[in-house]
């Protein structure tokens, strides 16, 4: 390969890595809730759909590029609906409110049903996250791949995926020692961040509403994480006052 081709391959590798890190973050977050086996199954299914789409609609790339905003918006809205619910539940647990509600439940079967539905939804979150990021990598490969062969472009994207997976798996063991509600709270903040980024970006134009680009995800995560703890503290304080007044 000449210098231009090496440059193209490097650009695809690095740009793909950004997308794969985002996808892996979602899979990692979901894995901490529903387990690695199911989460990686969802990720594999997402990658499988991307592969099938490449085979089936390779010629319809222009149409796919036009629709990527709508796809992003739809997935973002799904993540917001799911993420906000988890966020509120985790805040209430921090505030000591949901635990009281659980004790008052009359039917254990209802709770099992609830957990089953949540697991299914978490699987869908991982699947859609990988599907969307995979589609973006595919568009990247095609957009930047004209400087070298598509095989080399796809190889760069796959190599970058392998690198992200290896780096990500190293995080598995340390994360198992984190308390459950802290994990769920962190997951909900991550899902809300991606949901906000994709939902509004898909509806109104990503570059217009998120001028800082992918860095915004970190800022959103920090904002949601900090605000949630403040809300939990406020709710706990309000609850303590009420209990004190009743006593």
């Amino acid at each position: 390969m000449n210098a231009a081709q090496w440059g193209g391959a490097s650009a695809i590798f690095l740009a793909s890595a950004v997308e794969w890190v985002e996808a892996f973050t979602i899979v990692l977050a979901v894995a901490l809730t529903i387990g690695w086996r199911r989460a990686t199954g969802a990720a594999a299914a997402g990658l499988g759909v991307v592969a099938a789409l490449i085979v089936l609609t390779g010629a319809g790339l222009q149409a796919m590029q036009a629709d990527i905003g709508r796809i992003r918006a739809a997935i973002g809205i799904f993540l917001l609906l799911f993420g906000l619910r988890w966020y509120v539940k985790a805040i209430r647990r921090y505030a000591g409110r949901t635990a009281l509600h659980d004790v008052a439940r009359e039917f254990a079967a209802t709770r099992e049903h609830l957990e089953h539905a949540e697991r299914r939804a978490a699987w869908v979150v991982a699947f859609k996250g990988v599907l969307l990021e995979g589609l973006e990598v595919w568009l990247l490969v095609v957009a930047l791949g004209h400087t070298l062969s598509y095989a080399a472009a796809a190889g760069s994207a796959v190599a970058s995926l392998a690198m992200v997976i290896v780096a990500g798996l190293a995080l598995r063991a340390p994360l198992t020692r984190v308390p459950e509600n802290t994990l769920k709270y962190t997951v909900s903040c991550a899902i809300l961040s991606f949901g906000s980024f994709w939902g509004l970006g898909g509806l109104a134009g990503e570059q217009a509403v998120w001028p800082l680009g992918d860095v915004t995800l970190l800022l959103l995560f920090a904002a949601y994480a900090a605000a949630g703890r403040v809300i939990a503290w406020r709710v706990r304080v309000a609850g303590s006052v009420t209990v004190g007044a009743q006593a």
């Binding site: 609906l81 906000l84 509120v88 906000s196 134009g205 949630g228 809300i231 406020r234």
Partner: protein
């Protein structure tokens, strides 16, 4: 189906919170695109505070 959707996405309050926050942020994006993202985040945090209380 309705029950399943409710179990996954929460009650009507949750759906309305997301819809209102997104619509408001989208409206703001027409006038001041740079402020729409922050508005969305603030609205969602306010919705979470309302639901958690």
């Amino acid at each position: 189906m309705r029950k399943l959707l409710q179990l996954i996405f929460g009650d009507l309050r949750n759906a309305v919170s997301v819809a209102v926050a997104l619509l408001a942020a989208y409206g703001i994006s027409r006038l001041a695109p740079g402020a729409a993202g922050a508005a969305l985040a603030l609205l969602l945090i306010a919705a979470a505070a309302f639901q958690a209380a």
